[in-house]
């Protein structure tokens, strides 16, 4: 069976499964559409949350980010998991007790102000829309690579599928498709990782293999990796190279950003009880950790495999003990077919600069030392000849690099699609809820009937899919930078306002509004100063280098500072304004106590 047929079979089967679930779980009321009637078990919800949370970025990009940077990018691993501790301790149980459907609704009620609610809606829309663009682009890329259709055809197929199960099923349909998608994506991620860990370290568990012994050379795997990459002039894999302050602030921005992402928070509205919300966050993290503890092994091992493909000597002995891979081998050998496949996509490319018939891969951006300097001299190297290696191929090409069977490649393709589609559906639900529940029912037409609201929710979902698809077809040039924006905004606006709403009875509406605005504006201005206004190239006022950053804080880390500004401004303004009314203080009292959440569904 050809690889194409295998891919078609696995992807087709996974899609049939999702649609089957969607038809089985149609939503019949707004309570089902927004919150799956609050009947999802904590373990199921944990699994759905894991799929909701782990996006194309987690599945496709993260291991590559770690692979080429090493220890410094541990920030992603800690940041994108540590946020769940904050969610479980500081937000999820109380928002579940509150018992409504959307995040802006809580902001509006707790701060007794429609204005606060609208600002909440705006923050949610910016965060969720920037996020969904990345998912749709991921769907397009995966389709075009594995099903040999054009990028745009792939996107429309993906959009049609999301339309089927998200518009029909709402939260209920999305929850159970996400459970299925989690199973697909975690299988797809761990199978190649287990094979590769076995090949390199003889250890069945990648989590242990990472700290195990490299079989080819008999030394510790990470020591071997450090040796190989430094031989080629790259920075040591396990060492710390960036600013410590920035590393701390970036991790913090990712953590509080994670806890403040509306599409993750609303998942905790679906469980029956407050105690379930706490437990469910734990289960979510268990399922997330299954991927996140494997990711650093995938990153380091695929980096090693890639390097050893270029310098075969590294497999068993010294990096330079054998000549570099030959151009002839890359163009003709069966085990290098993956290089030719990926060259077509433009994510991998090579060029024999010195015309010696060998492709030498090394770091030509730093002054060479030791054995590398000698090799450059000896072989008359004119620069790194593996001219393009995109981060993203580290996961997608992983099974091919390790020569795994064709069905593993097909499973990885289905897994990448599951990761992107499940996150897109969760985001679209958050967006449509904000539009139909907060804007239409909450502000424009408060008297709308239950049936009318359900229809409005479906229509706004369909429209959001259309907008997301069009944005995915023409991704704005800044797609890669939107992650900084989404996390920066969630960290600096949504997380602080929710936390203060629960943990303080004295923060007033003026305080909350001023805090949110100050947090967002400070963060936006800081990001735009270095990245360009609205990310338009050339409009940045300062060059985006560490020397120009305020106290060495990178734009991506500034969400933490934005959050601090939000807290301080909200506190100061609240001191100067009239105390919140008694019923708001009672509301805070009531969300702090778990009893009564089961019957608190008043819609």
């Amino acid at each position: 069976m050809s690889q194409f047929t295998l891919n078609l079979l696995f992807i087709g089967a996974s899609f049939a499964l999702y649609i089957g679930i969607a038809i089985y779980c149609r939503a019949k009321s707004t309570a089902e559409f927004y919150a799956a009637n609050r009947g999802v078990s904590p373990v199921m919800n944990g699994m759905a949350t894991a799929a909701d949370w782990m996006s194309a970025a987690s599945f496709i990009s993260m291991a590559g980010l770690i692979a080429f940077t090493g220890y410094d990018n541990s920030t992603y691993l800690m940041g994108w998991t540590g946020g769940y501790v904050l969610l479980a301790l500081l937000l999820a149980p109380y928002l579940r007790k509150f018992g409504k459907f959307t995040v802006p609704e809580f902001i509006g009620d707790r701060f007794y102000s429609p204005t606060a609610r609208i600002i909440g809606v705006i923050c949610l829309l910016i965060v969720s829309i920037t996020y969904v663009i990345g998912q749709m682009t991921g769907v397009g890329v995966t389709f075009s690579r594995y099903l040999e259709v054009s990028n745009s055809t792939g996107l429309w197929i993906g959009a049609a599928l999301v339309f089927c199960y998200a518009v029909l099923g709402g939260m209920k349909g999305i929850t159970y498709t996400q459970v299925a998608q989690y199973v697909v994506l975690i299988t797809a991620y761990t199978i190649p990782a287990i094979f590769i860990s076995l090949q390199l370290t003889g250890n069945f568990l990648p989590q242990l293999g990472l700290f195990g012994t490299h079989e080819g050379s008999g030394t510790a795997f990470l020591l071997k990796l450090d040796q190989v990459v430094t031989d080629l002039g790259f920075r040591e894999y396990t060492a710390h190279h960036t600013s410590t302050l920035d590393m701390v602030l970036f991790t913090m921005a990712l953590m509080i950003g994670t806890a403040g992402l509306p599409h993750v928070i609303i998942r905790f509205f679906t469980v029956p009880k407050v105690s379930d919300a706490r437990k469910s966050a734990g289960w979510a993290l268990v399922f997330i950790a299954l991927l996140y503890t494997v990711a650093p092994a995938v990153g380091s091992m695929s980096r090693f495999n890639l390097t050893a493909t270029m310098w075969p000597g590294a497999r068993t002995g010294d990096t330079y003990s054998q000549p570099a891979v030959s151009l002839d081998s890359i163009q003709n050998d069966a085990d290098k077919a993956w290089m030719r496949n990926w060259q077509v996509t433009g994510l991998l490319n090579w060029e024999d600069k010195n015309g010696d018939g060998l492709i030498q891969y090394y770091n030509d951006t730093a002054a060479p030392e030791g054995p590398l300097a000698a090799t450059i001299e000896e072989q008359n190297l004119q620069g790194n000849e593996l001219v393009t290696v995109n981060n993203d191929i580290m996961v997608l090409a992983n099974p091919e690099i390790a020569n795994l069977p064709g069905w593993v490649i097909a499973v990885v393709a289905a897994g990448g699609l599951a990761a992107a589609l499940s996150t897109a559906a969760g985001l679209l639900l958050a967006i449509s809820g904000a539009v139909s529940h907060d804007l239409i029912k909450g502000t424009l037409r408060p008297n709308i009937s239950e049936k009318g609201e359900l229809m409005a929710a479906r229509v706004s979902m369909a429209l959001s899919i259309l907008v997301a698809t069009i944005l995915g077809l023409n991704p704005p040039g800044f797609a890669a930078q939107t992650v900084a924006l989404a996390f920066g905004l969630a960290a600096s606006s949504i997380f602080p306002v929710l936390m203060m709403g629960i943990f303080s009875k004295t923060i007033t509406k003026e305080g909350a509004i001023a805090g949110m605005l100050a947090g967002i504006i400070a963060t936006l201005v800081y990001i735009f100063t270095y990245k360009g206004w609205l990310f338009i190239g050339g409009t940045n006022m300062l060059e985006d280098t560490a020397a120009n950053w305020l106290f060495g804080i990178s734009p991506a880390s500034f969400g933490t500072v934005g959050a601090l500004i939000n807290f301080v401004v909200a506190y100061l303004v609240s001191q100067a304004t009239e105390k919140p009314p008694a019923e708001v203080q009672d509301l805070v009292e009531s969300i702090r106590v778990p009893r009564g959440a089961g019957s608190a569904v008043d819609h």
């Binding site: 770690i66 998991t81 540590g82 301790l89 990472l210 105690s275 950790a289």
Partner: protein
């Protein structure tokens, strides 16, 4: 007012548990994995040091334990104060 006093005591107890958990949360991530990594340099873990292990494995495992610990403690507290469901 006894109802309010009891719910106040419940909230104070909850806050104490949260403080403890947050302290551990910060210690295993910002502490062991980043700030104190140089101090843990002498403890080897498979080709590297303990700080690296915390950064890429340990902190995540500790987060999981923390959430389940918090959930269990709160279930007990809820029952003690009669606010469980």
């Amino acid at each position: 007012m006894s109802d309010r006093q009891s719910s106040n005591a419940y909230w104070q107890a909850n806050l104490r548990i949260i403080y403890g958990c947050i302290a551990v949360w910060a210690l295993v991530s910002y502490g062991a994995a980043i700030l104190f990594r140089p101090l843990l340099k002498s403890i080897p873990v498979g080709g590297t040091d303990l700080g690296f292990w915390f950064a890429q494995q340990g902190s995540i495992l500790c987060f999981i334990v923390l959430i389940f610990f918090y959930a269990a403690r709160m279930n007990k507290l809820d029952a003690e104060y009669g606010v469980d469901e």
